[in-house]
């Protein structure tokens, strides 16, 4: 089997596992982690697709998309964490 195809299938499996965990796990921190793993799975599908056809140069457009995607994902995660910390402080009665 083609190596890139194998990793796109791994990416699909990661996305499915993370989707399940995102809805079944209830702690918000776990949900953020699940969202990140789902993102990694989707990125893996994109990059696998970029070099699915052996012998040609990989398609640089998905590479650029995933590169920006990783950076945006971590900034969104960081913002989600700030929201969580704010929620916890409100729960403790602080401002």
């Amino acid at each position: 089997m083609n190596m890139a195809l194998w990793f796109t299938l791994v990416g699909a499996a990661l996305a499915a596992i993370a989707l399940h965990a995102f809805f079944s796990r209830r702690h918000p921190l776990r949900r953020l982690i699940a969202l990140n793993i789902m993102g990694s799975g989707i990125f893996l599908v994109l990059i696998g697709l970029a070099r699915l056809y052996p012998g040609t140069l990989p398609d640089p457009v998905p590479h650029a998309m995933v590169l920006t995607g990783i950076v945006v994902a971590v900034s969104a995660t960081a913002f989600g964490l700030v929201l969580l910390r704010r929620l916890a402080r409100l729960g403790r009665g602080e401002t």
Binding site: F7, H27, I33, A50, T56
Partner: protein, 313 residues
């Protein structure tokens, strides 16, 4: 594909799925975060296997480093005192569980069918990018796509990063992460040695991005990691985002990028349509700004905003 690399790929893919499963099923939050960091490291290896060195570099810094630090800092904060974070009741009822499992299975099946049903060769934009590299401001295809052909997307992405910082700041200050390792002399010694190397490699990555894997995204994350280490070691002064100089540096990437866009518009070409011969210099200038913006964005998101009152005391 030889037998050894085949075995390596199979092992990598299976460990990735297994690690994701263990991460999501981990009984403790701390365990989940540590497993997630390991997952990020394996992802970096997979990117290298898929001929995506740009992404491998970014993943090694982001997935294995930055996200882990952010998660651990938040966990330390959340576990202070009573944890009153609203956590909803776990899913009850076999019907809901069944529907959820079917949804996940359906996603996997549909994705697999879509992948297997692709035409051969699959659609690719490589044929359009590669012949145009001669006229672009960067000879490395990924950099050329990011900062020449699709520069608009990157401009807006930087705006999104700044938006995240503004939104986080508008939620008020959160306590400066103050783990017990602050003040460790061994860590301070390491940071003293490592910091110049980190800044040097960030600069090297920016310069290298013009013609080989590398660029502002990887350089920015290296810079962010160095800044966070500096804060962790207690050597640097607490990051005060209110200072005008920090704010100017934080926005420098967006300023330079929009400046170039306006300039090229005024010169008569399309926005971000670099004049012939100037492309390389302009892209390098934009990338230096982007590196600063990306690096400082993550430092700001990690450190939170110091209270103005706290600062005066």
């Amino acid at each position: 594909m030889s037998g050894v690399t085949l075995a390596l790929d199979l092992l990598l893919g299976l460990s990735l799925v297994w690690l994701a499963w263990r991460t999501l099923a981990s009984p403790t939050l701390f365990g989940a975060i540590v497993l997630f960091i390991a997952f990020g490291l394996l992802m970096a290896l997979v990117w290298a296997r898929l001929d995506a060195p740009d992404i491998a570099l970014a993943e090694a810094a982001v997935g294995a480093g930055l996200t882990g630090v952010l998660l651990l800092a938040a966990l330390a904060d959340l576990q202070q005192g009573d944890n009153l974070l609203p956590v909803r009741e776990p899913l009850r009822g076999w019907l809901l569980q069944l529907i959820l499992a079917l949804c996940a299975l359906g996603l996997f099946t549909l994705l697999t069918l879509a992948l297997l049903g692709l035409p051969s060769p699959p659609p690719s934009l490589a044929g359009q990018v590669l012949p145009r590299l001669d006229g672009a401001g960067a000879s490395h295809p990924v950099t050329a796509v990011l900062l020449d052909f699709r520069a608009w997307d990157t401009l807006l992405e930087i705006a999104v990063l700044l938006l995240a910082v503004v939104a986080a700041w508008s939620l008020g200050s959160h306590p400066h992460p103050n783990p017990r390792i602050v003040g460790s002399e061994v860590l301070q010694g390491l940071v003293r040695v490592l910091l110049p190397f980190a800044v040097l490699s960030a600069g090297y990555l920016v310069w290298r991005g013009g013609f080989a894997p590398g660029g502002a995204f990887q350089a920015g994350t290296v810079l962010a990691a160095a800044g966070i280490l500096l804060l962790l070691s207690g050597l640097g002064r607490p990051f005060n985002g209110r200072h005008w100089l920090w704010r100017a540096l934080l926005a420098s990437g967006l300023f330079i990028f929009t400046g170039v866009a306006l300039g090229t518009l005024l010169l008569g070409g399309g926005a971000l349509d670099y004049p012939a011969g100037l492309g390389y210099g302009l892209i390098l200038a934009i990338e230096l700004g982007l590196t600063l913006t990306i690096g400082l964005t993550f430092i700001a998101l990690y450190a939170g905003e110091q209270d103005a009152a706290e600062e005066r005391e």
